[in-house]
């Protein structure tokens, strides 16, 4: 099912922690321990380095692309406690658009809210707090809100609920839509996934999903494709990936996707939310798909092993 197209030499001097494709799938952003963020042009199967963004003084953990309607914006977060939003002005000329400096520890995760809400960025930090940064696009002014003590010891990952999830009590009037409730999920060192809801100008904890027995490393809210249910995937050091399902956003049921051989680092959904990519300490990427019996099947099992074999040969 899966075959290797090519391997990119990123030129990063240390480990890469995140690789993200932009909205159109034309640019790949990578970030590394060496403090740099690199942008590659991935058109036509080739990767050409188009930008090397230096501004962080520590390892950069995660990058996130904004919706293209706001221009080419890339957010990065780092061990140096900073969040930087980069903007591409002229072609491939990137400048610092905004720098957020108000975390007391490493910032582990950044995620842009669905474009319908405007230009909003959420950041999760090892200081246990989550920041919600809202940009007033007209004036380029940023406003920040903070959920302090979101997770004791630290917040590892953030994921927004896609805006099109039908509300439990759906109102067909368009006016009700504009006040759509913003939600986000966060994963933390307290072994919990928490769901936060914006309530007036505050963020309140709406739900706490307990099921992992170790740090939750990543959380990913599945894109809604018109389903009357919400789905969240969470990955943990306890080697489990849990799929959380809810139809009303108040009660959540959990299914263990799989118990892996090693720590699971990240989960990400495909655009339509029907494929889940899982990566872990075993250095493999596995793709999962739910069949019509609500069972999760790995769809690239044998391919993954061949990938890692190739890799070992390469590094010898």
């Amino acid at each position: 099912m899966v075959s290797l197209i090519n391997t990119v030499d990123t030129g990063h001097e240390d480990m890469i922690h995140n690789a993200v494709l932009d909205y159109y799938g034309l640019h790949l952003a990578t970030c590394s321990s060496d403090g740099s963020v690199r942008v590659f042009d991935v058109k036509n199967g080739n990767q050409i380095l188009v930008a090397d963004l230096k501004g962080h003084q520590g390892p950069v953990w995660q990058v996130a692309w904004a919706h293209p309607k706001f221009g080419n914006l890339l957010a990065s977060c780092s061990y140096d406690r900073k969040v930087i939003v980069w903007k591409e002005g002229a072609s491939n000329e990137w400048t610092k658009f905004y720098e957020y400096n108000n975390h007391d520890s490493s910032v582990n995760s950044v995620a842009f809210a669905p474009a319908e809400y405007g230009l909003i960025l959420a950041c999760g930090s090892s200081d246990g707090s989550i920041s919600i940064l809202t940009c007033n696009i007209e004036y380029g002014v940023w406003d920040s809100k903070k959920i302090s003590n979101a997770h004791t010891i630290g917040c590892n990952a953030i994921s927004w609920c896609s805006s099109t999830v039908p509300e439990p009590a759906f109102d067909q009037r368009a006016s009700a839509r504009n006040t759509a409730v913003k939600r986000l999920a966060s994963a933390g060192c307290d072994n919990c996934v928490k769901i936060w809801r914006e309530d007036a100008d505050r963020w309140v904890e709406e739900n706490r999903l307990e099921g992992h027995s170790d740090w939750v490393r990543d959380v990913a809210w599945a894109p809604s494709i018109g389903l009357a249910r919400s789905q969240i995937a969470s990955a943990s050091q306890d080697r489990h990936v849990i799929i959380w399902n809810s139809t009303d956003l108040t009660t959540w049921s959990s299914t263990i996707l799989h118990t892996f051989d090693d720590v699971v680092w990240s989960v990400s959904w495909s655009m339509t939310g029907n494929i889940l990519a899982v990566t872990g300490g075993d250095n493999k990427v596995t793709l999962w798909k739910e069949n019509n019996e609500n069972q999760w099947m790995c769809i690239n099992d044998d391919a993954a092993s061949t990938i890692s074999q190739q890799n070992e040969q390469r590094t010898l």
Binding site: S3, I5, H17, V20, G25, T272, N283, Q295, M297, I299
Partner: protein
């Protein structure tokens, strides 16, 4: 002495983190360890104390701020312990006084010497490693002074020619050589015997250097600066830069770790309260961090040659002895993988390149200390990590396909784009649309979409339902009944179906839905013994999994009931199947609730299907079913299609059905999210025209309005410059002219595409304007510089 010997021998017991609060007011600025490594001196604002270190904590031994003698010389920037005599200490005070203390004396007599020679703050003091009577100090006044503790006066003054000397360290490798770092970013080496000029000077940092430390074995000097970097200099001959470490804050102090060639500890002057231990070969991420202090760390020292214990003091007025095993390892907390799914079926995957050499660490000779071996292992593994990024492509799966199927070799996104461009949504009769679209989807391998289009064609193409809407018969009411799957009934059906189990109908191209063949491939080995529906079905290209529910299973042959639990569940209308059960064919609508909530584990334990299971199901013909209304069924089929992510098909069908769609009971909110998802997908593939078309054809206001965002064009009259807002066409109400509608090149009224300059409000026929501006820069009418470049 005794105590220290004991604790060293006990080893492992000693390896725990202990801490103590050292004072109520004031804060610590520096600490120093005596030569036996069993006591530390802590100096700071209103503070100079000595503590004994035990395996379970600290005890205060001496407080030199007692009594009446409380002059400013007690506010110390640095403290040093004699390398010979455990009773002799030296401090550097903020008022420039360098003091020497003798702990063996009493009261005020403890203060052996007071060298009040520096004009400004003394930052640092150090005893000579080779000659313990020699003491040097560095000061803000830019001088380094050498003292002999047997004398009352300094023996020499060295002028650094810089504003301020921040740190002075004796070289452990060469006698008489000291390094001095200063706020102008330079490092100087002095030979204490040659006082007129430094023997080496170089600029090491772009900002003030606050600290330096000599490597215990190599001829390396580490410097830490306000530029947030630690630099490692090879001091053989001319200084050359070996490594640069990027920290996140201004570097306050650095200290090489004993026993570990590449490790160095650092603490920051501001912002960062942690102590980091770096492996200089991996300069971006600390090897280990101690996060115990609640304010900036001001003094660090390794406990002699014990690499497992680090002593520290901080502005939070505590002293800590950190056990290395309690340190956090930021690198191990870091995600070493990243995967991103592209919508073109590609995956970008970044992963750490595992060094195979690390596995080849020799375990041969028994090393006496287990701790030692383990940590040396760690050291080996903590090389600069590297990652690569791989790109993978998802391919259509051929698993479960019969070879007769024509398989498209296009990738999923190509199918999507192809369909988006070629599907016809309106403008023809429904039958034609359906037929065309069925062929399109077939061409792109979307077999379930093809089937759906065929359903719609057969069920709605005749317009039968559009005309008489009042067929609300029992079908929908039976829904709830259907969900009660009755084994008896199914086995009954099964008997019937057995009759033509050996027949195979290859004509699956036939548009007649009754002839649709669903092939069941019972080869359970495909998915490693765990039988699943998806592996048994006609399997579409990856990404558009056919659910059994979306296909009509005209006949199902079951050899055992277990198969039912693997996805094929007969859920047809009971009366309906009874009605036809005596005929040779039956139409089973396998739509409803084919989701048995089975335990995954239980299922996997189940035996694989029996060997002689027939693999083909077949249908002869479908009877006319005049009384049955398919609305519910079609609605659910469409919803299931949406459920698997194929909003393209669901939206296309709904649009194509026109008014008939109202018969289907699908929630508008759901349809709207389908629309939004589909439009978003089209945008991602940059199919703007298709997206626009879908918006235009939408019957939902919220979706239609998407087209009207920022589409207004502001026009001005070309004659008088007045805004034409509210005017009809290009007619200006002020100057009553239609001048603006005329082409400024040919003078005729423009019909069709009108190119027009927003600056001067003049324009004309697109072609004329293009021709004109190929050779001109200015507006043909008014000479305005229309072209920006």
């Amino acid at each position: 002495m005794q105590k220290s010997q004991d604790s060293r021998d006990r080893g492992a017991e000693d390896l725990c983190t202990v801490s103590m609060r050292i004072c109520q007011e004031g804060h610590a600025n520096a600490l120093a360890l005596n030569k036996e490594c069993n006591q530390i001196a802590v100096a700071g604002r209103s503070l100079l104390k000595v503590f004994a270190i035990y395996s379970d904590g600290f005890t205060e031994v001496c407080n030199m701020r007692g009594g009446k003698n409380q002059n400013l010389s007690y506010s110390s920037n640095d403290v040093a312990w004699s390398t010979l005599d455990s009773n002799i200490l030296a401090t550097a005070a903020t008022n420039g006084v360098v003091s020497v203390w003798d702990l063996s004396r009493f009261g005020q007599k403890k203060q052996l010497h007071v060298y009040n020679e520096h004009e400004r703050t003394a930052h640092t003091v150090a005893f000579d490693i080779h000659d313990p009577h020699i003491l040097v100090s560095g000061s803000q006044d830019g001088t380094i002074k050498q003292f002999d503790v047997r004398n009352e006066k300094s023996s020499y003054t060295y002028y650094s020619n810089s504003e301020s000397v921040r740190d002075v360290k004796f070289s452990p490798h060469t006698q008489y050589v000291i390094s001095a770092v200063s706020e102008n970013g330079t490092v100087q080496l002095w030979d204490l015997r040659k006082g007129d000029k430094s023997i080496l000077q170089f600029t090491a940092h772009s900002g003030p250097i606050y600290t330096c430390d000599w490597h215990p074995t190599k001829n390396w000097l580490a410097t830490g600066s306000r530029d947030k970097q630690i630099k490692i200099w090879n001091m053989d001959g001319k200084a050359s830069l070996e490594h640069t470490i990027h920290t996140i804050a201004v570097v306050g102090r650095v200290k090489w770790r004993p026993d570990r060639i590449y490790h160095i500890a650092s603490c920051a002057l501001v912002v960062d309260y942690s102590i980091h231990v770096w492996d200089i070969r991996r300069p971006y991420i600390p090897f280990a961090s101690f996060n115990d202090h609640t304010n900036v760390t001001t003094g660090i020292a390794w406990k002699g040659d014990n690499s497992q214990l680090l002593l520290s003091t901080s502005k939070d007025s505590t002293i800590y002895r950190h056990a290395f095993k309690d340190a956090v390892r930021p690198s191990s907390k870091a995600n070493a993988q990243g995967a991103s799914l592209g919508h073109r079926g590609d995956i970008s995957f970044a992963r750490k390149i595992k060094l195979t050499t690390t596995e080849a660490v020799t375990h041969g000779s028994k090393i006496n200390s287990f701790v030692r071996q383990r940590s040396s292992n760690h050291e080996d593994q903590f090389h600069l990590a590297q990652s690569d990024v791989c790109q993978f492509i998802l391919k259509p799966s051929y698993i479960g396909y019969s070879l007769k199927e024509e398989i498209t070799h296009l990738k999923e996104h190509e199918c999507f784009i192809g369909c988006a461009k070629e599907l016809i949504l309106n403008g023809r009769k429904l039958v034609d649309i359906c037929e065309h679209n069925a062929n399109v989807t077939k061409k792109y391998g979307k077999h379930n979409a093809t089937t759906l289009w065929n359903f719609v064609k057969v069920l709605y193409g005749s317009n039968e339902f559009g005309k008489h809407e009042i067929h609300r018969n029992s079908f929908s009411k039976q829904k709830s009944v259907q969900t009660l799957r009755r084994p008896a009934q199914i086995t009954h059906a099964h008997e019937i179906l057995q009759w033509d189990r050996n027949e195979r109908n290859d004509n699956n191209n036939n548009d007649d839905m009754a002839d649709t063949v669903v092939q069941l491939d019972m080869d359970s080995t495909v998915m490693g013994g765990v039988s699943t529906t998806s592996s048994k079905q006609n399997y579409p290209p990856f990404g558009s999994v056919i659910l059994s529910e979306t296909q009509i299973l005209n006949e199902i042959t079951f050899d055992n009931f277990d198969l039912l639990r693997e996805g094929f569940i007969y859920v047809g209308p009971p009366d309906f199947s009874k009605m036809h059960s005596h005929q040779e064919s039956a139409l089973h609508h396998d739509v409803q609730a084919a989701r048995p909530h089975l335990d995954l584990k239980a299922e996997s334990k189940e035996a694989s299907p029996p060997p002689n299971t027939p693999s083909v199901l077949k249908v002869n013909s479908a009877p006319a079913i005049p009384i049955w209304e398919p609305h519910q069924f079609v609605a659910e089929s469409i919803m299931l299609q949406g459920d698997v992510g194929d909003v393209q098909t669901t939206i296309s069908i709904l649009i194509a059905m026109g008014e008939t769609r109202k018969l289907l009971q699908i929630d508008d909110a759901l349809v709207e999210t389908w629309f939004q998802t589909y439009i978003d997908q089209l945008h991602r593939y940059q199919l703007w025209n298709e997206a626009c078309k879908v918006m235009n054809l939408s019957w939902l206001r919220a979706v239609r309005e998407l087209n009207q965002q920022s589409t207004s064009v502001h026009t001005n009259c070309g004659e008088c410059g007045r805004s034409l807002a509210g005017s009809v066409g290009w007619y200006c109400q002020k100057c009553k002219s239609m001048q603006s509608s005329k082409c400024s090149v040919c003078g005729l009224i423009v019909r069709g595409l009108y190119a027009w300059c927003q600056g001067c409000s003049h324009g004309g026929h697109l072609e004329h304007i293009m021709d004109y501006f190929a050779n001109h820069f200015k507006c043909p009418k008014c000479g305005h510089l229309c072209e920006y470049n």
